[in-house]
């Protein structure tokens, strides 16, 4: 059975593909359910830093330089966290996410998307994720 996520609010007049997910860490700490933008143009996964702080997550991975495409240079050195991403029935352990003070939305990047099979159904405004 695929897991379906309806597109979210429009951005620039077009509905955004989003998913609902939760993040947990090795100690069992967890975020609330978050809405994440599915972004095939993102190398990795970014989370607003306050969300990680509220969940009580602790950094444990090396830093990266956050380079927004339109800006073309690093705007921020982001600290890494190792988490499990829970997307409906799908569980992806050992995912690195990076805490940013400059973003307002969770951005689910290709580090996660490249582990998944999904259909982008634009006319129906739906993302269908296949479960193993």
């Amino acid at each position: 059975m695929p897991i379906q996520f309806p597109f979210g609010r429009p951005s620039g007049g077009e509905p955004l593909p989003v998913v609902a997910l939760r993040l947990t860490d090795i100690t069992g700490r967890a975020t609330s359910t978050l809405t994440a933008i599915v972004d095939t143009g993102a190398d990795g996964t970014l989370v607003p830093l306050p969300i990680l702080r509220v969940a009580g997550f602790k950094s444990s991975r090396i830093r990266r330089e956050f380079v927004p495409g339109g800006v073309g240079r690093s705007v921020e050195t982001v600290v890494g966290y190792q988490v499990t991403v829970r997307l409906g029935e799908l569980t992806l352990p050992s995912v690195d996410v990076f805490g940013s003070v400059h973003i307002g939305d969770v951005i689910l990047g290709r580090d996660v998307l490249n582990q998944l099979v999904f259909t982008y159904d634009g006319p129906r405004r739906l993302l269908d994720f296949l479960t193993p």
Binding site: A42, R63, R64, E65, F66, G69, V71, E76
Partner: protein
């Protein structure tokens, strides 16, 4: 040069430049204005003591010779500032083992092949 002098020189230049070149000056000034407007505050202010300990461990790791770091290729190393605590090809097993031994210690987990400050490019950013 004072701002008044700069303004005077710019006005003098605009007087003699053809219209298309004068527009190019305006375009460049607007580009600079945009750059200033998109300079974002540093995230470092948000880092806590735990983050700084992880960063110190990262700096220690990358201060080691390439030969030393490459001896860990295919494995994850558990690192604190000044010391490699343990290493394993199973990152989860390593983290559980290290956490059991040092429950409250900020420990960096880094692969032998890791690069420092690797860019994370987001082609369609949603900046605040």
């Amino acid at each position: 040069m004072t701002r008044k002098e700069i303004k005077g020189k710019l006005e003098a230049l605009l007087e003699i430049l053809p219209d298309d070149k004068a527009e190019a000056v305006l375009d460049f000034a607007e580009f600079l204005q945009h750059q200033v407007g998109t300079q974002l505050p540093a995230a470092e202010e948000e880092w806590d003591d735990w983050d700084r300990a992880i960063i110190a461990a990262e700096e220690y790791w990358f201060s080691l010779s390439e030969e030393t770091r490459h001896a860990y290729i295919g494995r994850t190393a558990a690192v604190v500032e000044g010391r490699i605590l343990d290493a394993d090809s199973d990152r989860m097993a390593l983290e559980e083992r290290v956490r059991a031994q040092y429950p409250d210690l900020p420990v960096l987990y880094v692969e032998g092949e890791a690069e420092q400050f690797k860019p994370l490019v987001v082609l369609s950013p949603h900046l605040r």
